[in-house]
């Protein structure tokens, strides 16, 4: 074996694996969505788009991401700043902050179900405080905005940790000298945050926002756990078409929509938060 071949040999399993189980299936999705028995057809896409749930599912999915991601960004920035300034108990607090990282969206949905269901803890608290006389059905179909709120809370609760972890590791890469220089020139803590931390954090912000926004478009189990099918989202509809309606062509058309908005979001963040060449650490 020549030494030149060694790296390729080491990469071979991973490359083959990704080509067979990642690249090929995505081509397959596109084909499933636009082909029928007689070759190319837009029929599946039309079936999807003309179904009454399509627009609402698309709308709720995008609204959910648009509400959740900015709140998570602000929270994660605050949490990361807190962590970097901690002197005592840093590792314990860091562990607590990153606990939700290991939780699935289904588990998060069930956790918040314990709070929001009719005999749940929110109702118990409101009853105990004398605000309500009998438990309210928060998660019923007539309260779609309460379901939305519960999903937003569960998503923020679960998935802010991942953004925080990325930002904390990004903040660790910013040289201390920059802050010292800022202090010498009389910059306040807030000014240092705006003028040093945020611009230097751009690559991390980019990674975190892309990762988080894409995951927000894939929201599924948390919605199912809290609202069943009352609050339609794209991934839930994909699942419905694949399973209940047994039509994998329309399910693939849905998958293409999720793929399209994911790519659009990725390009958007790559462009808006682009890192000038040679400016990386």
């Amino acid at each position: 074996m020549t030494p030149k071949a060694l790296p390729y040999l080491l990469l071979l399993p991973a490359t083959v694996f990704l080509l067979v189980f990642f690249v090929y299936p995505f081509i397959q999705i596109a084909l499933l969505a636009v082909t029928g028995p007689e070759g190319f057809t837009l029929q599946h896409v039309q079936t999807m788009a003309s179904h009454w749930k399509f627009n609402t599912a698309l709308g709720w999915t995008i609204l959910l991401a648009a509400v959740v991601v900015p709140i998570q960004l602000v929270m994660a920035l605050s949490m990361a700043s807190i962590v970097t300034r901690l002197q005592t108990g840093r590792s314990a607090i860091l562990y607590i902050f990153s606990i939700p990282l290991g939780l699935s969206d289904l588990a998060a949905g069930i956790v918040w179900l314990a709070i929001f269901e009719q005999s749940g803890f929110l109702n118990s608290m409101l009853y105990g405080l004398g605000v309500v006389e009998q438990p309210i059905l928060f998660l019923g179909y007539q309260n779609i905005w309460v379901i939305f709120l519960a999903v937003v809370l569960a998503e923020i609760w679960r998935a802010t940790a991942i953004v925080m972890v990325i930002l904390v590791s990004g903040m660790g890469l910013i040289p201390k000298e920059y802050y010292e220089a800022g202090e010498v020139f009389g910059a306040s803590a807030w000014q240092r945050f705006i003028k040093i931390t945020l611009p230097m954090l751009r690559p991390s912000l980019q990674s975190a926002l892309i990762l988080r926004t894409l995951a927000a478009f894939e929201v599924f189990a948390v919605v199912t756990a809290l609202g069943g099918t009352t609050l339609p989202v794209l991934m839930g509809e994909t699942f419905q078409w694949q399973f209940t309606l047994q039509d994998r062509n329309v399910a693939s058309a849905y998958a293409l929509v999720i793929l399209a908005i994911s790519i659009a979001a990725t390009l958007f963040f790559l462009r808006v938060l682009r890192v000038p060449k040679g400016a990386t650490l």
Binding site: P7, F21, P25, I99, L101, D105, L106, N123, S207
Partner: protein, 282 residues
């Protein structure tokens, strides 16, 4: 864990002169509560009897009644789902490290044409909604007899875990100076012996951490598991399929069964969390 915060408080208050310091501590306590209280409430429900779970109003204090847990464990299909979850997660762990670690080593030690293309392939996986892979793979698996098997699902979960396995092992191997390996070569080791005797012992804890991370990814995955399994459901797939028909105490006990291992996993890999993500920025 909150106890640590409270223990620190008196000492910190002594030194705190400003309101800013107080606000800072308040924020820390508040965020810890935000993370921990919902988990606590889930545990309260899990440790209450089915009657208490559906009862109202709730006290928020567990009665340490184990009948909900007993009901969950003896419920038809749960034991098998738990076993399937563990099996798929272990297979995912083996596959993703077995395939990902050699790639990570190659990226950290060699410069060769095509390196950038491979990196792009790995980075690209993160720009795609991966659970959707389950849709076309369902067809492929039926043709090849992999449908409804643990290994079939583990393959999809490995696609999810492999970018992390490659990036984490890359950063681990990059942290070991090449000189160490070269010293072993001059002392008569061949490449494999040097790797085995010098590099491997140093990276083993990190490899274990990334294996645990792969396990967690598989343990938590819902969508692909629900699409690809019918008889051999994993725990999340089992729960999500039965959500609208299962009683509340089954849901909460199931939720706790998913959360508790996750707490342990994150505790086990906490040291490596930041190394993993630091590298992801480059």
């Amino acid at each position: 864990m909150t106890a640590t915060v409270e223990n620190n408080t008196p000492k910190a208050v002594e030194t705190a002169r400003s309101a800013g310091r107080f606000l800072f501590i308040a924020a820390v306590v508040l965020i810890c509560a935000w993370v921990l209280v919902p988990i606590y409430l889930l545990m309260v429900n899990t440790l209450s009897s089915p009657q208490e779970v559906t009862g109202f109003p709730k006290t928020g204090i567990p009665s340490f009644d184990f009948s909900s847990i007993q009901f969950f464990i003896s419920f038809a299909g749960v034991a098998k789902a738990l076993w399937n979850s563990v099996l798929v997660a272990v297979l995912t762990m083996i596959l993703s490290i077995g395939i990902g670690a050699p790639a990570g080593y190659a990226l950290s030690r060699f410069d060769f044409p095509g390196k950038e293309a491979f990196r792009m392939l790995v980075v690209m996986t993160r720009a795609f909604p991966l659970p959707l892979l389950a849709l076309p793979l369902a067809v492929l698996f039926i043709r090849s007899g992999l449908d409804d098997t643990a290994i079939g699902l583990a393959i999809v979960h490995t696609v999810l875990a492999i970018p992390f396995a490659v990036l984490i092992t890359f950063s681990l191997f990059s942290g070991i100076p090449l000189e160490l390996e070269e010293a072993a070569w001059t002392l008569g080791c061949n490449r494999w012996q040097a790797f085995q005797k010098v590099v491997l012992p140093l990276v083993l804890p990190g490899i274990a951490a990334s294996a645990v991370f792969a396990f967690t990814i598989s343990w938590n995955e819902v969508f692909a598991a629900a699409v690809l399994t019918i008889e051999n459901r994993t725990l999340p797939a089992f729960l999500v399929q039965n959500l609208n028909v299962s009683p509340l105490h089954l849901k909460f006990a199931g939720g706790a069964a998913m959360v508790i291992p996750a707490l342990i996993f994150i505790f086990a890999v906490r040291k490596y969390l930041f190394a993993m993500w630091g590298i992801a920025n480059r």
